[in-house]
């Protein structure tokens, strides 16, 4: 539950929500905790909220490491499994 996944912001809406691409999965998350976000930014996503901006390089590095450790799959499964 403590992990955060870097994601690419692809689209922003006015209500503090954003569409991100997360390891190939598209997901709507909240960016209300961040001041300035634009499409093309990478953000650290934790339980559906962007906590922080990260550089693209950092994002790629983290994603690669998470994928290698098998962490990405379990996190993505958790996002997918959750009730809606």
């Amino acid at each position: 539950m403590c992990l955060a996944i870097p994601a690419l912001v692809t689209d922003l809406s006015d209500d503090g929500m954003a569409v991100v691409s997360l390891g190939g999965v598209t997901k709507t998350i909240s960016v209300a905790l961040l001041d300035e976000v634009s499409a093309g930014d990478y953000v650290l996503v934790h339980v559906g909220y962007a906590l922080h901006k990260v550089s693209e390089e950092e994002a790629q590095r983290t994603l690669a490491l998470m994928a290698e450790g098998g962490l990405l799959d379990s996190e993505l499964a958790e996002i997918g499994e959750a009730a809606s």
Binding site: M1, C2, L3, A4, T28, I29, S30, A32, L33, L34, D35, L44, H46, V47, G48, Y49, L51, H52, V54, S55, E58, R61, T62, A64, L65, E68, G69, S74, E78, I79, E81, A82, A83, S84
Partner: protein, 383 residues
């Protein structure tokens, strides 16, 4: 270095390992507590312990929100789930944790309660909107990273006039717990753990910054390095801690500068402050009651506070006998010191919270160190 292959950047891992070996003084021990379960997990998954000399010890701290929720509060959550017409929403990790009489949210669900796993408070809000005639309670747990999302959900519910949504708040604060561990020897010498430094929380610090840990250096003379969750981050942070210890320096250093600042995320902090206030005292599993260590929902949002809204009966919680989770969470015992480990207690059939969450110490030992731990236990039993 059998585990080094696991590292993405093998060369860097080897270099860091060599530097740690070269700089660690063989004449002394280094006891470092990693507060976060995320660090515990990284250390085990990548075998970091095998890449550092034997006199560098990792002490696993209480930093797993699932593990430290006291059974009493979990029993309360189960009671909320069982209210007629209620829907209880929870992060997935919580569902299998055994409460009193080994009942979990999962077993409550099997008995007919409407318990739903959510990934986000956003999902819980959506469930409330879709079910206006039901009471939707979100089980809020976690440290400073999951608190802002709970705060936002409460604000959102207030803005929308979503009257059937509430939060059962169990949010806790990391600095208070660290302070408590350091004060423990004064209160009870039995509980003393020798600590030479801390690996500070990473994602928690993205929210609150590194500043709240400065008291550790100033008041307790303990070095702190805010460390990222990746194995190379952990190794680099260990090296930074060893250097501080060797130089006799005490400071809060930030290894995770690419994400963490001294001030943290001001917007998230303001939001949390608007919605929550300090609880005078809160019980942590293993650490007991601690002053100013948790948050409650402010009165102005009382109608979104499940504790104020619904009657919760005062019950006495029952710990599983012989489960050593409490001592493990304080860093005074290891999973091998629990008679139940691997025999009665496994991730499929957990007896305590440390075995449920993947960030728990027992689960980490089970996944990555099972054979060694069971062998050690057999040896100690034979002695």
């Amino acid at each position: 270095m059998k585990y080094v292959d696991e590292f993405r950047d093998r060369a860097l891992a080897e270099k860091l390992s060599a530097a740690i070996h070269a700089e660690a003084d063989p004449a002394r021990d280094y006891n470092f507590m990693e507060f976060c379960g995320g660090h515990t997990h990284a250390i085990f998954r990548y075998g970091v312990q095998d890449l550092v000399p034997a006199n560098v010890h990792f002490i696993h701290g209480p930093g797993c929100p699932v593990c430290i929720l006291p059974i009493r509060r979990l029993d309360d959550a189960i009671e909320l789930a069982e209210m007629p017409g209620a829907i209880l929403c929870s992060y997935g990790d919580m569902l299998r944790v055994p409460g009193s009489k080994r009942r979990s949210l999962m077993s409550a669900k099997a008995d007919g309660a409407d318990v739903r796993m959510v990934y986000s408070t956003l999902d819980a809000l959506a469930i409330a909107r879709a079910n206006p005639d039901r009471q939707v309670v979100f089980l809020g747990i976690g440290f400073e990273t999951t608190t802002p999302p709970s705060a936002l959900a409460i604000r959102q519910a207030a803005d929308e006039g979503l009257e059937n949504f509430s939060v059962f708040c169990n949010h806790v604060l990391t600095p208070a717990a660290i302070r408590h561990i350091l004060d423990a020897p004064e209160i009870d010498p039995e509980q003393a753990v020798r600590l030479d430094g801390f690996l500070g929380p990473s994602h928690v610090s993205t929210v609150i910054g590194s500043k709240p840990y400065e008291f550790l250096a100033e008041k307790y003379a303990k070095p702190v390095v805010i460390a990222g969750f990746e194995p190379l981050d952990v190794m680099q942070s260990v090296l930074m801690l060893i250097r501080q210890v060797n130089d006799g320096r005490v400071a809060v250093e930030n290894q995770y500068t690419r994400v963490v600042t001294r001030e943290g995320n001001a917007k998230a902090q303001e939001l949390v402050d608007d919605v929550f206030e300090l609880r005078p005292t809160f019980e942590w599993r293993g650490l007991g009651w601690m002053a100013d260590s948790a948050l409650a929902i402010r009165d102005k949002y009382a109608r979104f506070d499940a504790e104020k809204r619904f009657p919760i009966s005062e019950k006495t919680a029952r710990e599983v006998k012989s489960c050593e989770c409490p001592a493990i969470l304080r860093g005074v015992k290891k999973p091998k010191d629990c008679k139940l480990f691997g025999k009665v207690c496994t991730p499929e059939n957990p007896m305590g919270s440390c075995m449920v969450s993947s960030e728990g110490a027992c689960a980490a030992y089970w996944t990555y160190r099972r054979a060694e731990t069971l062998a050690e236990m057999a040896l100690e039993a034979a002695e």
